[in-house]
């Protein structure tokens, strides 16, 4: 295969942080390279330089053997480089075809339409169908984007890039937002794209995916190029060690649980979603002191609404939520947290952080009014800084500056700020929603150990996760939800992947037991 891309000595500095330090990366046509590294290693920065979002301080990019001058994303697209961002750049009320053609509209030649640029929808849809057939990406060109599941929206993003003639595709943590099934489909699509000659740079923290789909991996650590390896010669263990620089325990070590009395009781709870349709449809379960209850389920089966109702953010329509026997249905978020509930929210940028605030202010986002962070309504900056400094050490938030705005942190480090804040306060119940999304293997190990540690201290943990592995390795009991109901409660020690997988997909308990 011919060499498609060669990046030589790329360097990028943000103030005191050297995000990329003399990094090399090579890619052949038709090859899939996994770009691995801890949170803040510089992966996103590297690909953003390739896509023209950041201007490199030093280094050269050769595309197709030619020294490429990429001034901005427009340049990158014109030269055949496409990128799928984690936050989709789609126009929700438009159709799939309209989105794909946006900026590259098919206009009828001659005719009156060509003067004002009236779009030829039929031709556009035909072109989308043709693309989707050629690359094996199934979409309905006339579907409206906002009605599509996340996995399909992502496919539209990929098609958009391919429509512009992308021969190199950058995927920055594309699977973080996907269900396991959608992930499998994406990996298949990536393989078939590579077979047509497209080169792919694939960033992910999930080693299983790396092993499944890549040809080669390149590892960064602290902005430096550490090395490359053939995927065929790698294992999860060897990749994890290369990333972190030490051996990593991939399995959670935990003793048996010693559950006490109920901390959280949910009784026949009903909650509506933003559009007003029933999301939680009569859920009941308990979480006791000293145990981890895992909520397993495909995303969008009422988990978000459940968590928001428990934490006071969303109104419960009927049913009851009890903390330690006290009825706290529809309590305010402040009342809930004052009672002793910590909350790691699913959407960290939206709910869990104020992007413009410093790391320090985010560390006290929900305790800012308490001693010692405030005294008679006046904020005590020294106490806040001390506390934040302590937490970034303990939870290994990088870089180690409490004054930089949270928006300059890498995705995984943002998550660590939230985890640090929520697990460091004195609490009785911890509600953790997707606690390790976007977090590197070393930090996953750390967060998992922290959750087990909380359990062993006698706290109750409600874990909501779309990662089956996470559910299986942490939960003492597993509640599987489907369409807003708890369809089964299983013992965490004996439940299997297959059994839970089937229940999540709407299979009955008896079917699951047979399988």
């Amino acid at each position: 295969m011919s060499r498609l891309l060669e990046m030589k000595g790329l360097t990028k500095r943000f103030g005191p942080v050297l995000a990329c330090d003399n990094v090399d990366l090579k890619l052949d046509a038709g090859e899939i390279v996994g770009l691995l590294g801890e949170n803040g290693a510089g992966k996103s920065t590297l690909v953003k330089m390739l896509f023209g979002i950041y201007e490199p301080d030093a280094g050269e990019i050769y595309f197709d053997g030619q020294l490429a001058d990429i001034e901005g994303p427009g340049d990158a697209i014109a030269q055949g480089i496409g990128m799928v961002h984690q936050h989709f750049q789609l126009v929700p009320p438009l159709t799939v075809a309209e989105n794909i053609m946006l900026g590259a509209e098919v206009v009828p030649e001659g005719g009156p339409g060509s003067v004002v640029g009236v779009m030829n929808m039929a031709a556009a849809e035909e072109r989308v169908l043709e693309l989707s057939k050629r690359f094996g990406l199934k979409v309905d060109p006339s579907a409206v984007v906002e009605d599509l599941p996340v996995g399909v929206q992502q496919r539209v993003e990929i098609l958009k890039a391919l429509n512009r003639g992308a021969r190199l595709l950058i995927l920055d943590e594309p699977t973080a937002v996907l269900t396991p099934k959608e992930t499998d489909e994406l990996l298949k699509v990536m393989r078939s794209l590579a077979d047509t000659g497209v080169g792919i740079i694939f960033i992910t923290h999930k080693l299983r995916e790396v092993l499944a789909v890549t040809d080669r991996v390149t590892v960064l650590r602290n902005g430096k190029y550490i090395g490359s390896a053939e995927t065929a010669e790698s294992t999860q263990q060897s990749l994890a060690e290369m990333m972190v620089g030490r051996s990593v325990v991939l399995r959670v070590e935990k003793g048996t649980a010693h559950p006490g009395s109920s901390v959280l009781e949910v009784r026949d709870l009903r909650v509506r979603d933003d559009r007003g349709s029933a999301a939680v449809q009569g859920m009941s379960f308990d979480v006791r002191e000293g145990e981890i209850l895992g909520i397993a389920g495909v995303e969008g089966n009422g988990q978000r609404e459940l968590v928001e109702a428990i934490t006071g953010i969303r109104h419960s329509e009927s049913g009851a939520i009890l903390f330690g026997g006290i009825d706290m249905t529809n309590a305010t978020p402040r009342e809930v947290s004052e009672w002793g509930v910590a909350h790691i929210p699913e959407n960290r940028e939206k709910d869990g952080l104020v992007d413009n605030y410093s790391v320090a202010d985010n560390m006290v986002l929900n305790t800012y009014f308490k001693e010692p962070f405030a005294s008679r309504g006046i904020r005590v900056v020294d106490a806040i800084r001390k506390w934040a400094s302590k937490l970034i050490e303990k939870f290994d938030v990088r870089p180690r500056t409490i004054t930089s705005p949270v928006k300059s942190l890498s995705g995984g480090n943002k998550q660590k700020v939230i985890v640090a804040r929520e697990l460091s306060a004195e609490n009785k119940l911890i509600v953790a929603s997707q606690p390790t999304r976007g977090v590197d293997v070393g930090s996953i190990e750390f967060i998992h150990n922290q959750l087990v540690h909380q359990r062993d201290k006698g706290r109750a943990v409600l874990l909501v996760s779309a990662e089956l592995d996470e559910i299986l390795s942490l939960s003492d009991r597993v509640a599987v939800v489907y369409e807003g109901r708890v369809v089964a409660e299983l013992d965490g020690a004996t439940a299997t992947r297959e059994e839970i997988g089937l229940l999540m997909a709407g299979g009955s308990a008896s079917e699951a037991a047979v399988s």
Partner: protein, 378 residues
């Protein structure tokens, strides 16, 4: 993440210094854009003056001489600047919570009218009378602001719409109160719609040429800065403005904050009106305060919504306004030229990308771009 990371080492110390210095650096960086904008406006305005046959340097010298280089000139400038400081504070403060208060005009009128009413209608000792009149003026305006806030918080009514509508309500209400048939009309005023004179015990004095009201306004600027930066209440306001979802998550009563912020914002504008009545005119006269409330928007933008920066911004614009008579005398330049200069300054401040393009100054920040209002549904 080794086990040692779990220990709690002593940290802090050196981080603090860098934080102080970076806050200072950020403050200085914030000054850059307005300074460049004023410079560019002077150049653009200069071209305009040349085209109309004037020497821009002598015009600018006249402005400086008239407004800043004599005691009475400074007095006049500060008189003009005082309601601008308050109006600018009102807009800047609301903006911190993500709200756009363009009802400063109506709030100022209410403050001016009610302060005047307390001022002429009661006979009280100075220590009580003077502050009481101001506070009543501010509180009546605050009530209006609270209604706007409540409509926003509970009914989703956009504050831009409601504050504009309340400008009409407040304008007509105060017009009526002092009109010939109104209850507060000055019987000695003949056809003029105004209140009787405010008693001496409620008059804000001047010290030589310098109006004391200006220093009251500056006091409010520092108070607001302190409130926003040092108190938990300020943290709640800024958090609500920065990310409403995160604010709710953090347990902040977002609706309460919206109502309180709007009320305080209107209070500030109302105090501006009270100082006009008690310090400048000695009464409320319906036609005296036209358009003043809208200058607040200009000032807040120029100050990039920093409460302290509101003071120099108001002095600059106040000084320009104070020179119109002299310009007319010396050059026969219409007062509109000053408005054009003001508009140019505002234009360059509001469009940092234009400035960046003009001075090829890459560093002028994206981070500084100001968006004064969210989507209409927000």
């Amino acid at each position: 993440m080794t086990d040692t990371a779990l220990a709690d080492p002593e940290v802090g110390g050196e981080d603090n210094d860098s934080a102080e210095s970076s806050a200072l650096a950020a403050g200085l960086r914030g000054l850059r854009l307005p300074t460049v904008a004023v410079g560019l406006a002077a150049v653009a305005g200069g071209i305009l003056l040349i085209v109309s046959g004037e020497n821009p340097l002598s015009v600018y010298w006249s402005i400086l001489d008239e407004s800043f280089l004599s005691g009475s000139g400074i007095g006049r400038t500060l008189e003009k600047a005082t309601p601008m400081v308050m109006g600018g504070l009102a807009v800047a403060f609301a903006f911190k919570a993500g709200l756009f208060n363009i009802g400063g005009q109506g709030q100022l009128l209410l403050g001016a009218a009610f302060a005047a009413w307390v001022g002429y209608n009661f006979d009280l000792p100075l220590v009580v009378h003077l502050p009481l009149a101001m506070v009543v003026g501010g509180l009546v305006a605050a009530l209006l602001g609270a209604i706007v806030g409540a409509l926003k918080a509970y009914r989703g009514a956009h504050e831009v719409i409601t504050t504009i509508m309340f400008n009409f309500v407040a304008g007509n209400l105060t017009d009526y109160l002092v009109s010939r048939d109104g209850p507060w009309n000055d019987p000695d005023g003949g056809a003029i719609a105004r209140t009787p004179r405010i008693r001496d015990s409620a008059i804000i004095p001047t010290y030589g040429d310098i109006p004391i009201g200006f220093f009251i306004a500056c006091g409010f600027a520092f108070l607001i800065w302190w409130l926003l930066n040092k108190t938990t209440f300020g943290f709640e306001i800024v958090t609500t403005g920065a990310n409403k979802h995160a604010a709710r998550y953090a347990g902040i009563g977002v609706n309460r904050i919206i109502i309180l912020t709007m009320a305080i914002s209107a209070f500030l504008a109302g105090i501006g009106g009270a100082i006009q009545s008690q310090g400048l005119f000695g009464r409320f006269e319906a036609s005296n305060n036209a358009g003043l409330g809208f200058d607040g928007i200009t000032i807040a933008l120029l100050a990039r919504t920093n409460p302290i920066a509101v003071i120099p911004a108001a002095i600059l614009i106040g000084g320009l306004n104070a020179s119109t008579t002299r310009l007319q005398q010396d050059f026969r330049i219409e007062p509109e030229v000053v408005s054009i200069l003001q508009a140019l300054i505002l234009f360059f401040v509001a469009a940092p990308s234009v400035v960046r393009w003009l001075v090829r100054w890459k560093a002028i920040g994206d981070e500084e771009a100001i968006q004064l209002t969210g989507g209409w549904g927000a």
